[in-house]
Symmetry: C2
Subunit: 96 residues, 2 copies
DNA sequence: CCGTATCCGCACGGATACTG
DNA sequence: CAGTATCCGTGCGGATACGG
């Protein structure tokens, strides 16, 4: 989701947090550090007050947006079919 | 990896286990049950001795092979670049 | 605003033993 | 062969508090 959010341009920490939704501050930080370590995301600090930090995709990070978009499209397309299958599976398990 | 392995045709439990490698019996079973619940994989039992169980992709499961192959191709292409980035990041952390 | 530090519950997954 | 059952350590991630 971070890769997808940054695919349209750099974004600040809290903007990212609001856009993704349901992510704790801790996990967003840890995930961003991981992506930074992997060379997929850059972190730029502007020494202003209040502080400002921009996150952006590196060239390699941008190459990942397409594969992830393909996967995301698949998930959107089959989400309801999969939920239906789960319901059928679960109710079949009850009758044992 | 299970989806990728089954993309070329049905496969038995232990064949799958050997092909994937490094997966415990427990985790392979749990993962297969999850895929079955999601309607991505079918489980077929042949009541022979010794028992035989075939796993195969459902039509929906087959639609997932392409998105995953795209992602896998990306991983193969950038694996070494990412490892290099990690090494650079880690050695930069040491000097603090 | 953008984090880090600390505590803690819990569930993930390995190891092992057992079974039809 | 293809599992299930049980025990158990560890690490993930939430919650909370604090700081530049």
């Amino acid at each position: 989701m971070i890769i997808g959010a940054l695919s349209r341009g750099p974004m600040r920490f809290n903007a990212l947090r609001r856009l993704i939704g349901g992510v704790s501050q801790r996990m967003l930080t840890l995930t961003l550090r991981g992506l930074e370590r992997d060379g997929l995301v850059t972190r730029t600090v502007y020494p202003t007050i209040p502080p400002r930090v921009d996150y952006a995709l590196t060239p390699i990070g941008q190459t990942l947006t397409e594969p992830l978009r393909v996967l995301s499209d698949w998930a959107m397309a089959y989400q309801s079919a999969i939920e239906t299958a789960q319901d059928a599976y679960d109710s079949a398990q009850e009758n044992l």
